[in-house]
Symmetry: C2
Subunit: 409 residues, 2 copies
Amino acid sequence: MKTKLFLSIALAAISLTAFAQQALFDKNEIVSPQINADNTVTFRLKAPKAVQVKITGDFLPTVKQQTNFGLIDAPGAADLKEVDGVWTWTSDKLSPELYSYKFIVDGMDMLDPSNIYRNRDIASFTNIFIIKGNGDDKGTYYSVNDVPHGTLAKVWYNSPTLKITRRMTVYTPAGYDNGKGKYPVLYLLHGAGGDENAWSELGRQTQILDNLIAEGKAKPMIVVMTNGNVTQKSAPGESDQGMYKPGFRGDGAEKAAASMDESFKDVVNYIDGHYRTLANKPNRAICGLSMGGGHSFAISKRYPDMFDYVGLFSAAIFMGGNQNGQQQTLEQQMKSSGADKQLATLFSKKPKLYWIGIGNSDFLYQTNADYRKYLDSKGYKYEYMETDGGHIWRNWRIYLTTFSQKLFK
Amino acid sequence: MKTKLFLSIALAAISLTAFAQQALFDKNEIVSPQINADNTVTFRLKAPKAVQVKITGDFLPTVKQQTNFGLIDAPGAADLKEVDGVWTWTSDKLSPELYSYKFIVDGMDMLDPSNIYRNRDIASFTNIFIIKGNGDDKGTYYSVNDVPHGTLAKVWYNSPTLKITRRMTVYTPAGYDNGKGKYPVLYLLHGAGGDENAWSELGRQTQILDNLIAEGKAKPMIVVMTNGNVTQKSAPGESDQGMYKPGFRGDGAEKAAASMDESFKDVVNYIDGHYRTLANKPNRAICGLSMGGGHSFAISKRYPDMFDYVGLFSAAIFMGGNQNGQQQTLEQQMKSSGADKQLATLFSKKPKLYWIGIGNSDFLYQTNADYRKYLDSKGYKYEYMETDGGHIWRNWRIYLTTFSQKLFK
């Protein structure tokens, strides 16, 4: 009966063409991307009237591009070939990883209409796909596997310091909803242009933690993903600030009631007040990427008794600051800002882990090298990871996978 | 210091062109859609090489289109005009509503790259925007306003009946996280091709309930949005069933361990076991659209002591069924399936509300008219709402807004 019922709906709807009713039927029968048995990937686009179709993606050989910062790696492009109006291109064999791409049709960026998986990074979208390996690889860790899953919630909390009610994303691990135990907490911060959705969407936080916890490689933990723009209530479109077009922005501290580090106590108070947390230093970690690395740097030194684990991913700390028109060295800035003394206090309390990760072609590489030199000069202990590539999510997913396995042990 | 810090990042990144770093800067300075003061809307697309650019959307005058089911309303299209490579078109004044649209560039569907707000319906995307009115209007109810917000969570639960662990979306109203009170529950079901994300994304469930509850027009309630495809663990890409391309599908009952109605007790048990619910008939409601209307029909009659409120939105119930090759009337099907007796039991227990809503050009209109005739013939009481238009989300948002205000009072 059921079968007949829905077959009837299908047959009824197939001849309808109204806008919404149309969604019941997919007129686009192209398969793209098609992951082949040998891990090459075939891309297809139906575009009978196009003159030129290219693909650009992070699986293509990079090209060196001259910038103010010297040569950097930019993603290459490849030409699709057309037969009967369908343009096709097949990649080399790809290693396990999450990849991003888009088409360029007669000079205009266009997503792959056959691929519903898309990530937004500020105001740009790219399609994504994942190549999985045989288990212990990035593709597998970034995929949803047949393991117990945590709960991901969009939660509103009041920030008395910022004087606004704000949104954050809270991951509670598998078992939390069915138990009574208390859990450690990782605070995971995004970069400039991002929001409280960035880590769970672009960063695959939920998949990475579900998988690592299931394998016993990471401790079950709560993960709190805040919005690091202190004038912003939520991701674009999710608050009464409206459906505006996001752009690059810093945290907005200059216009806000307080800075991210000053207001961060509100977040920790809310989480400790509403979740079953182990509410002490050995059971709290903080890390973030880029601006969020800068925030993690600032928050950890502001509250030296709060976190035993600190992670700076491609962190934006003290870049090109100047005083009275004079360019300052990082060491000068550490002193003039008071960070010098705060870090002395932080490290005197012996955090269990101070961790730094950066890509070897990141535009913040030199700043981070200067900061490591400073830490070395003071004898402050830290762990360091250097990866290939620049200021990109591919690296930040690696850093989360690595850092989260070191926590609360 | 903060300002300088992030300005520096901005200046540093502006000259970089690597794929991900590039997302920091939006090269596309076009504003689209631009909602003008008089509620006309201007759309723009930069496409210097395009020969023809059209827009299609549900704000355009519909055109009559001949189908097997007679004339139906299909969305019209309008031509954009090009100046210096930028194509432009301005709509008439629009009344408060959530609107959908896309461009057609040289015959190929394309989203508006300047508008990050997009809804997926099965495998198709459209851009969306909202025209707000002065308060008591659809545009306002579908917007995020400055009111207390509920929490939206993606939750995994075990279904012993279906023998799989599955994902659902659970809305807990503002105040739930800070209180100890118990709440009534609305179970809100999607249609064929949809999943547990459909109502919160396409249906604006979170905004509608936040707003109605804030105004005291709806009671604070938990809203549970299940996945109605009984072979599916979750929305596409969110389970180990992989990142496949979704298509039209029914609930898959013919291949599953059990039907949606048989397995629905697992959902109710989980919710009553994990949330502070008022776990009785006067405090439970169920409604759904299309296939989910069929499910609401089936579940409510299967468990006549479970729900005091039932809503059928453009419901797919008993369409064109046949036995031994003979087309059956709805009344014949009611008898041969046993629904006749189940409904007699259901209505003997006097549900507080049995509610039916449908559009006057819905392809399921006649089936629903037959069903109402059947209910009338039995003297079963129901409320009925008829709206303009077809089998579309615009109607389902109206029905949720209307139905949810009638519950638990």
